[in-house]
């Protein structure tokens, strides 16, 4: 207990906020609507795990403790498309499965993103075959392609960070304003 108290007293005396001080500025942060929205979206990407082959095992690996996808706010794997933000197509999409994947995608509410994980989901991979769809981008728009067969969990996390970077640059509020629907900004 004594040690803890020492640490906290030391913290309060030495911690200084050069850029932001609640005592001066109150509980106010100046930012842009888009920046705030994007910040919230990118840090709580709930994946729809579309696990179709061995990539799904690596996806499970990236969710477990060694790689820990929750460090990026994406640990809430939703098995309902209606609660999901990003569909991770992990594995070989056969023609028999293709329209089912499309249907799950259609059931996801906007805004939504798609990660094609691994060679098969990106391009059909080694399956130049009568039975395999040659890339999920034939059916749904893909934001990030992850190479590998299957990709290691680090690559999945890298792909997720790429998607976060992409989301950071979105201008949904500005676009709404330009379309003349911008009640939020026009006041």
């Amino acid at each position: 207990m004594q040690a803890g108290a020492d640490v906290s007293s030391r913290m309060s005396s030495t911690t200084q906020h050069a850029a932001y001080d609640t005592k001066v500025e109150g509980n106010i942060i100046f930012t842009q609507v888009d920046t705030a929205i994007n910040w919230m979206r990118k840090n709580s990407l709930w994946p729809m795990p579309m696990g179709l082959a061995c990539c799904a095992i690596e996806l499970m690996g990236s969710a477990s403790s060694r790689f820990d996808i929750s460090r990026f706010g994406a640990e809430v794997m939703r098995f309902s498309p209606r609660q999901s933000d990003v569909m991770i197509v992990a594995g070989t999409v056969t023609y028999k499965m293709a329209l089912a994947v499309k249907r799950v995608w259609d059931q996801m509410p906007e805004p939504k993103w798609c990660i094609a994980m691994g060679a098969c989901a990106s391009s059909g991979g080694m399956y130049r075959s009568y039975a395999v769809l040659q890339g999920i981008d034939n059916l749904i728009p893909v934001d990030v392609y992850i190479s590998g067969c299957p990709p290691r969990p680090e690559a999945v996390l890298e792909g997720l960070m790429k998607l976060q970077k992409k989301i950071e640059l979105e201008q949904s509020a500005v676009a709404q304003f330009k379309r003349g629907e911008g009640g939020l900004i026009e006041g």
């Binding site: 023609y95 009568y130 395999v132």
Partner: protein, 188 residues
């Protein structure tokens, strides 16, 4: 081999050829007697396990199809195998053995799905891997590796896979792999 002697005594002329290769026994029989021989194998010779049913497409030769049944004695622990083969014309149906071995039901559906050979008296003659309405039989020799276009609205569609220099098709032959392996050939 006791099995072989028993079969020859019982069926005689219906067995046209017996092949022994490194301890594996294969008998070639006539299509008409195949069901009776398989039944005899199960009931009298204790081949209680049907390992697999497969089929071959000898495109360009007559008869076109060749059925292969892989049997095994599991119950008595001898682990003896027997392969039964017979040829089938394109307009013929194979006799279903689903009433002898339950597992034949799905094996025969796979043969039907991939090769298009139909089975008489099968309890459930549907496709097993591809969907109902898929118009092709993908393991036939005249089917290109890249596949063909098809469309069943709201069920599934297929398209040609990009193959540089294709389509690649295998050829039936008894000579070496060089002749057999998939090469750019057109079957339209």
């Amino acid at each position: 081999m006791a099995t072989l002697d028993s079969l020859k005594k019982e069926f005689g002329d219906a067995i046209s050829e017996t092949i022994e290769f490194r301890g594996e026994t294969t008998i070639v029989v006539t299509a008409a007697s195949a069901k009776d021989i398989l039944k005899h194998c199960r009931d009298e010779l204790k081949f209680d396990y049907l390992v697999d049913i497969s089929s071959l497409d000898n495109l360009g030769t007559e008869p076109r199809w060749e059925m292969v049944y892989e049997l095994c004695q599991l119950g008595n622990g001898s682990n003896e195998h027997l392969r039964v083969k017979y040829s089938l014309r394109e307009d013929e149906k194979a006799a279903s053995v689903a009433d002898l071995w339950e597992t034949a039901n799905w094996h025969e559906r796979e043969v039907y799905d991939m090769m298009g050979i139909e089975f008489s008296d099968h309890p459930d003659m549907r496709r097993i891997l591809m969907w109902e309405g898929y118009p092709f039989y993908p393991l036939r020799k005249d089917f290109p590796l890249a596949g063909r276009q098809s469309d069943m609205p709201d069920v599934a569609f297929t398209d040609r896979a990009p193959l540089e220099g294709g389509p690649f098709v295998t050829s039936p032959t008894s000579s070496s792999t060089v002749h057999r392996e998939p090469r750019s050939r057109t079957f339209e």
